[in-house]
Each structure stands twice: as C-alpha cells, then as structure tokens.
C-alpha cells in the first residue's frame, strides 16, 4: 500500500515526460494571444479559468478572425466535451471520494493527466488513496501550463517558429497510445477515430473532436459484440 505522498510523487513522475510537449505548446499559446492583439491579462486568465490548451488557441483565433463570442464559447465547449468520456472512465476509481473532493479533482482532469493516471489506476486498483496519483499528474500539468503560458505572454514566442514544436503535441499522444497497437481491436478503433477526425475536420465548431470518438466507440461496441 502506497502512501498519499508516494502516489502524488508517482503521478508527478508519470506525467513529467509530457512536459516536453506541454511547455513549448504553452509558450506558443501565450505568445499567440498577445500577437493577435489581446489583452495579456485576459490571455493569462484563460489558462487559469479554461485550462485547456487546444481550446484556448481556438478561442483566440476565432475571436481574432471576427467570430462572435457565442461561436467562440460554443467551440470551446464542444472541443472540451471529450472530457465527459474521461470523467466516465475515471468515475469508477473516484467513486469513494466526497462530493467536494470530486469537485476539486475535476478541475485537473486534462488529456495527459487522464491518460497517465488511468493507466496507473488499471494496474493498481487496490490502492486506497488512488486519487492522489491523479492529483499529482493534474497539478504538475497545471503548474507547468501556467508558467509556460505566462512566459509566452511576457517574453513572446521565444521558441523559434521554424522548429515546428506544435508537432510535439501529436507525438505526445502517440507516446500515450502506442503500446495499444499490439491489440488489433484497439488498432481498428484508433484508425476509425483518426480517419473520422480527418473526414469531419471541417464540421462546424471543431466538432470533429467529439464526433470521431463517438464513431470510434460505436465501432468498439460492435467489436466487443463480435468477440463473444
């Protein structure tokens, strides 16, 4: 049985490799906001209030492109609706927490934190203070994201654009799913999702990001039925 502190530290360690992509992306995200001419305080407020990388960039780009606030807000909501799926997966492990703790821990459920903590949860179901792992991954990512976007806002994009560091984002997620390529059913689900995301890329409000997982999960359900 691991202590709370051990679990928290384990979470920090498990998420830290992803900072290789999160920190440059955060700097870019902060710098873009200022470059597009937005008030630096508001650009930073997004990192604190919304706390979701891709959705923050889309929000800024839509508004600077002349879209209405309604469209921008709706897009953020739709892009982030994928968290509903993360929550459904994690709910099983977080069930025992008090309502208040659930409210707090929800704030730090972001892509990489979900991915790493979910992997850990699956292997360590018997741990009593399991959620401290998620607090470790989520809070580490939160702190790094705040520092990275702030430095992008203050210093501008000191990450040379030629390096194309945005490419580190797909790479981080490749690192997350790559071991599942061993399983043919997961490969089918991944390819379904990936191709659907390209097919529906131009769907309104960036909805490809939730349409394609729904299609992929539907395929997963079909595969499960076939297996039996």
């Amino acid at each position: 049985m691991l202590s709370k502190k051990q679990l928290f530290t384990r979470g920090m360690l498990d998420i830290s490799p992803h900072m290789l992509s999160v920190i440059p992306f955060g700097i870019i995200c902060g710098a873009i906001g200022v470059e597009l001419g937005f008030n630096p305080y508001l650009v930073y407020a997004m990192s604190f209030i919304i706390f979701g990388g891709a959705s923050q960039i889309v929000f800024l780009q839509l508004l600077s492109g002349g879209a209405s606030s309604l469209v921008a807000v709706a897009s953020v909501g739709i892009i982030n609706s994928r968290h509903l799926l993360y929550g459904a997966v994690l709910s099983e492990y977080l069930e025992k927490l008090s309502f208040l703790k659930k409210l707090f821990i929800s704030y730090v459920i972001v892509d990489q934190a979900f991915a790493e903590s979910n992997k850990f949860f699956k292997k360590n179901t018997s741990e009593e203070f399991l959620h401290y792992h998620l607090i470790g991954t989520g809070c580490t990512l939160w702190v790094c994201w705040q520092i990275a976007t702030l430095s992008g806002i203050i210093l501008g994009s000191f990450v040379p654009e030629e390096l194309g560091l945005k490419f580190a984002i797909p790479l981080t997620f490749i690192a997350i799913v790559v071991q599942d390529l061993k399983k043919i059913d997961h490969v089918i689900v991944m390819i379904t999702c990936g191709l659907s995301s390209l097919l529906f890329f131009d769907a309104p409000f960036k909805s490809y990001i939730i349409i394609s997982p729904v299609i992929a999960l539907f395929i997963a359900a079909l595969l499960l039925r076939l297996k039996k």
Binding site: E95, Y107, P170, L198
Partner: protein, 105 residues
C-alpha cells in the same frame, strides 16, 4: 474578448470535466458500457494525433511526402520498442528536424 466570455467558456469546460465524475456511480454503468469505456484512450487521442500530423496550420491537407508523416512513423516505431515517452517525442522531433533542416532545405 471579454472576461465574461472567458468565464462562460471556463464554466462550460469545468462542467465537461466534473459532470461524469460527480454524478455517475459504479452501479449506474452497465458492464457492457464499462467494457466500451476501456477503449476511450484509443477512441479519443487519434482525433488529436491525425489532424496534428495530416492537417497544416491553414486547415488543409499536407502533401504525401510531408516530413511530419515520417517523423510520426519514426516516433511510433521508437515508442513501440522503447516504451519511453521522452524517447518517443524526441525521436519524432529529431527525425522531423533532420528532414526539414538537412534533407529538404
């Protein structure tokens, strides 16, 4: 951009994170649903990976010989064999840089 629209976007985002965690309990999910939820990472992350590789900043498809495709393939192979996140990201980035700065420049 107003603070109000950021706050509304933030509340919406928070609700996407909180709803399922706070409102669902174990017995509400049938075993079949749980089995499907096992696939969530594989069903969600490619929607970030594929556009990140195949679609450029202007929202159009990249060409078939784009260095990102090779960078991603290298990352998949290195990631699969090494099981190491840092190695996966660096392998993808370095092979991408090698192509854009050395080969295609």
């Amino acid at each position: 951009m107003t603070l109000v629209s950021i706050i509304i976007a933030g509340i919406l985002t928070y609700f996407t994170r909180m709803t399922m965690v706070a409102l669902i309990s174990r017995d509400m999910l049938a075993d079949k649903v749980k089995a499907v939820l096992e696939y969530v990472p594989s069903a969600v992350f490619p929607a970030i990976i594929f556009p990140g590789i195949f679609i450029n900043d202007y929202g159009t498809f990249i060409e078939i010989n784009d260095p990102k495709i090779y960078g991603a393939l290298v990352a998949i192979v290195v990631g699969y064999l090494s099981k190491n996140i840092i190695a996966t990201i660096l392998a993808g980035l370095i092979s991408y840089w090698f192509l854009i700065f050395v080969i295609f420049s």
